[in-house]
C-alpha cells in the first residue's frame, strides 16, 4: 500500500534535486510547500511534469495542483483515483 508513497518520495528527491533530503526525511502527511520541504513555484511545475512522465497523468487544470500536491498522501490518493 505504501509502495507508491515511497516511490513518489524517491521521484521527488531526484526530480527536484533535493540533495540533502532522504526518503525517511519526508513525512507522508507533511506539507510539501511552505514549512514542509520548502518547495517553490518552479518545483510545482516540475511536479506536474513528474506526474505525467512517471505516472502518465496529465493535469489539464493547474489550479488542481494546490490540492494534489499538498502532501505525498494527497499525490498518492490522486494517482490511485486516476488509475482506478
Amino acid at each position: 500500500m505504501a509502495e507508491l508513497e515511497e516511490e513518489l518520495k524517491s521521484q521527488i528527491i531526484e526530480s527536484l534535486n533535493l540533495e540533502d533530503v532522504e526518503i525517511g526525511d519526508i513525512e507522508t502527511d507533511a506539507p510539501l510547500f511552505g514549512a514542509g520541504l520548502g518547495l517553490d513555484s518552479i518545483d510545482a511545475l516540475e511536479l506536474i511534469v513528474m506526474l505525467e512522465k512517471f505516472h502518465g497523468i496529465k493535469i489539464d487544470d493547474p489550479s488542481q495542483g494546490k490540492d494534489i500536491f499538498e502532501s505525498i498522501k494527497t499525490m498518492a490518493k490522486f494517482i490511485r483515483a486516476h488509475k482506478a
Binding site: 527536484l16 534535486n17 533535493l18 511534469v49 505525467e52
Partner: protein, 208 residues
C-alpha cells in the same frame, strides 16, 4: 574628479582549485566539475539547499562570488548600492543543450521547468543577487573573451554616476566541462590598497 577605486577581494575558480586573493584555498583531486563543485560547497559550508537546484554555470558563479564577498567588508554598504557586472563567452549554452535534448524526441517530450529557467546567462547574476540580497545595478555581457577594458570602463562609470558603492565583477564561463570563474569586489576603500585598474585585473585573471 575620479573616485579612487580598489579591489577589496578576488577569487579564482578553475582546474578543480579555488584561490582567494591569489592564495590557493581549496584544491580537489576530482576532475569532474559536478563532484568538484559539490566538494567546494561542503568545504565552504554554504548551507544553501537551493544551490543544488542550480545549473553548473550558476553553481560556479555562486561559489566564486561567495568567496569574494566573504573576504570583503561590505557590511556598511546598503544592498541597493551593490552592483553585479559579469561577463562570459558561452552564455548558458550547457543548459541550453540540456533543454534542447529534453525536447528533441516528440515521443519522449518532457521539458523540465527547472532546467528551462537556467537558459539565460544573466540568471547567474540573479542567483548571486538573491543569495546576498544585492539590489543594485546588474549586467551580464556575453563576449568572445574577457574584455577587461570594457569591464573597467563600465564599472568605473557606474561609480562615477553615483549608482553604486560596491560592485561584484568578473568572468564566469562554463561550456562542455570547461569552466572558469574570476570574480572580484570593487569598492571605494581598501586597507589592502589593490588599485582597481586594467593592469591589476589582468594580473588576477592570468594567475594560473
Amino acid at each position: 574628479m575620479s573616485k579612487e577605486l580598489s579591489i577589496l577581494a578576488h577569487s579564482v575558480v578553475r582546474n578543480s582549485s579555488i584561490s582567494i586573493n591569489g592564495e590557493k584555498d581549496f584544491t580537489s583531486s576530482e576532475q569532474d566539475f559536478k563532484t568538484f563543485i559539490k566538494e567546494a560547497y561542503r568545504n565552504y559550508d554554504l548551507k544553501y539547499p537551493k544551490f543544488f537546484k542550480m545549473d553548473s554555470l550558476c553553481k560556479l558563479a555562486v561559489i566564486g562570488a561567495e568567496i569574494a564577498i566573504e573576504n570583503s567588508d561590505l557590511a556598511e554598504i546598503s544592498n541597493d548600492r551593490i552592483g553585479i557586472v559579469l561577463m562570459n563567452r558561452a552564455s548558458s549554452l550547457e543548459t541550453d543543450r540540456e533543454h534542447q535534448h529534453s525536447i528533441d524526441d516528440r515521443e519522449n517530450y518532457f521539458p523540465s521547468p527547472s532546467t528551462f529557467v537556467y537558459t539565460l546567462a544573466n540568471i547567474m547574476a540573479g542567483e548571486i543577487a538573491i543569495r546576498h540580497e544585492f539590489q543594485g545595478e546588474n549586467m551580464c555581457f556575453v563576449l568572445s573573451e574577457f574584455d577587461i577594458d570594457l569591464m573597467q570602463q563600465y564599472v568605473s562609470n557606474l561609480f562615477e554616476s553615483g549608482k553604486i558603492d560596491a560592485c561584484l565583477c568578473g568572468w564566469v564561463d562554463f561550456d562542455d566541462s570547461n569552466y572558469e570563474s574570476v570574480q572580484y569586489i570593487v569598492g571605494e576603500n581598501s586597507s589592502k590598497n589593490i588599485t582597481f585598474d586594467v593592469c591589476t585585473t589582468k594580473e588576477i585573471y592570468n594567475v594560473k
